[in-house]
Homo-oligomer: 85 residues x 4
DNA sequence: CTGCCATTTTACCGGC
DNA sequence: GCCGGTAAAATGGCAG
């Protein structure tokens, strides 16, 4: 069994695990902060008289459109392969 | 119709709306990037032989109030007994 | 305290909880059976030479189309309310 | 081009495909209905004062092998100790 | 056995 | 402040 001069054995796996957890938690913090920023923008929008629900829907649609284009392409692809190119 | 000295009428509300949408979309992009980073860390963890599901559970527990954790466990116990499990 | 002639006190809440759980489990069984039937159809389709992925996508699209129509209507609605009817 | 004596060419593959799609859609409808029933039961449970999340947990545990449950709990413990929690 | 996709669960947000 | 529904995350199952 390996022994260090220090009191506690260095638990490699434990250290690694802790590192993983802390990094994830840090990133999640950042994510949360961004979510909060987004919320602030919507608050501002509301104050300016905009309908937040409408804005959300607009954003959703803008996000969907490219996705749909892509899906159509995928479908085409898949048809091609279905009929043997 | 109102006319400004500039060529195009400045559609204040429209500009503001566009600004709002773009700022939100920008922040959502950043959020997505962070999510991807988190995913990478979990991949790494998996490669290192950790059980990702358990790590997630651990992180979840760390972010709950200890009292809450206790309560949920207690309730689970209570229900188990209630149905004779 | 109420006493029954039976040995065990009837645990009302426990009975109710058990009933809930069992009913849910029963329905989940049925759901699972249906999922299995669907899987069988896809197997059959595959055997008949169809590309299952294509079929899935067709079904998905057929499902989306009405949803999109509805979404557009919702958006319209929301605009109407946004501008005060 | 092949010609049949009948008015419309019977597009065998097309018919079969349509049949497949319709059968799948039908079964998916039924699945959806069951999902809705389950939801209703949980609503009822909630109204009766039960913690739905805990009930879900319970159902999940009931469908796992006891050995599995044990193993997960053990692993969680191991990880907790590893990071000194 | 790994990555992908569907389902399921959790968390959030707006309305009452 | 709760409740309902909606969007995000996580889990599980399937194909390659």
């Amino acid at each position: 069994m390996s022994v260090s001069t220090e009191e506690k054995p260095t638990n490699i796996a434990g250290d690694r695990l802790r590192s993983i957890i802390e990094r994830v938690e840090r990133l999640e913090e950042e994510r949360k902060a961004l979510a909060s920023d987004i919320k602030d923008i919507f608050s501002e929008a509301k104050s300016a008289g905009f309908d937040v629900k409408v804005i959300r829907q607009l954003i959703r649609i803008r996000k969907q459109e490219p996705a749909e284009v892509e899906e159509q392409e995928t479908l085409l692809d898949v048809y091609r392969r279905a009929i043997g190119m």
